[in-house]
């Protein structure tokens, strides 16, 4: 893919729903893509100068943002990563998926990476049409072991811990997780 790829990420969060309309999310993506290059593309700079004259410096509309992302990702590998899409309001989510679909359709070098809970799988299949591959995420035993050992190393009361207790903790937690 080359070393000059653009990577943009967005983390959904139930705590900040007002920041989560498709235009603000993709605006944030566009900002990250633009910040990685030396010179702002002339079309975007012009749009900025035109709006600057309007009081309040009106922001871009969703379709303009989509178009600019399409433009920029057609000449450069662009990875758009979205975490916890299930935490996005349902109405916004469908619109966002449609916009991502528009971007993928126009730019073969664009890639979208999404994480979320299983219940939105149907929506992704419908709105990204035939573009999405799905993959289930579950921690492997090795993940749990590595994680637990790292946490135990950071223990703030190391005196209360001995080898037997450590092994017991690891054994109990890994067993419980594998039964889940």
């Amino acid at each position: 893919m080359g070393g000059n790829a653009a990577v943009a990420c967005f983390y959904f969060d139930f705590a900040t729903p007002e920041e989560q309309s498709p235009a603000t999310i993709l605006g944030s993506v566009l900002r990250q893509v633009v910040s990685g290059i030396d010179e702002v593309p002339e079309r975007i700079a012009k749009a900025f100068r035109d709006r600057e004259k309007v009081i309040g410096g009106q922001r871009l509309a969703l379709d303009e943002i989509v178009e600019f992302i399409q433009d920029m990702s057609s000449s450069r590998s662009t990875f758009i990563c979205i975490d916890a899409l299930d935490e996005c309001a349902a109405g916004h989510r469908v619109k966002l998926l449609d916009s991502l679909h528009q971007i993928l359709q126009m730019s073969p070098s664009a890639r979208v990476f999404i994480t979320g809970r299983p219940h939105i799988r149907g929506e992704i299949d419908t709105h990204l049409a035939k573009r999405a591959t799905t993959r289930s995420i579950t921690p492997t035993n090795n993940d749990i072991l590595t994680f637990l050992r790292a946490k135990l190393r950071d223990d703030t009361m190391p005196d209360a811990m001995d080898e037997r207790l450590e092994e017991e903790i690891i054994e109990n937690i890994t067993e419980t997780v594998s039964e889940m």
């Binding site: 983390y11 900002r31 990476f113 809970r117 492997t140 090795n142």
Partner: protein
């Protein structure tokens, strides 16, 4: 004033002018970036990055689904340009790398 003197002055004026132009260009870029979006997703990204435990979730990078997505190879029904990783709460979706 000698001619050389004038030349020097012109040169220093030019270099000041260059610095000035670079500043305006840089300023306009940061203004444009702020106008595009006021959000700072990097902060959350860096926070997650520092809390991630080295080696956990690396297996995803070896899966066929991920590799096909990265290199843009069609996988079955899909054209492979989007990858959806799903799982219940707390399985580590946010922290996969």
């Amino acid at each position: 004033m000698s001619l050389r003197h004038i030349n020097d002055n012109i040169n220093s004026f030019n270099s000041i002018n260059n610095v000035w132009n670079n500043c305006t260009v840089a300023d306009e870029k940061s203004e444009i970036l702020a106008w595009l979006s006021p959000l700072e997703p990097r902060i959350r990204h860096q926070d997650i990055q520092t809390r991630r435990v080295e080696g956990v979730g690396d297996w995803l990078l070896q899966t066929q689904e991920y590799r096909n997505w990265l290199s843009g190879i069609r996988g079955g029904e899909s054209d492979g340009s989007a990858l959806f990783c799903y799982g219940g709460p707390g399985v580590g979706k946010t922290y996969i790398r």
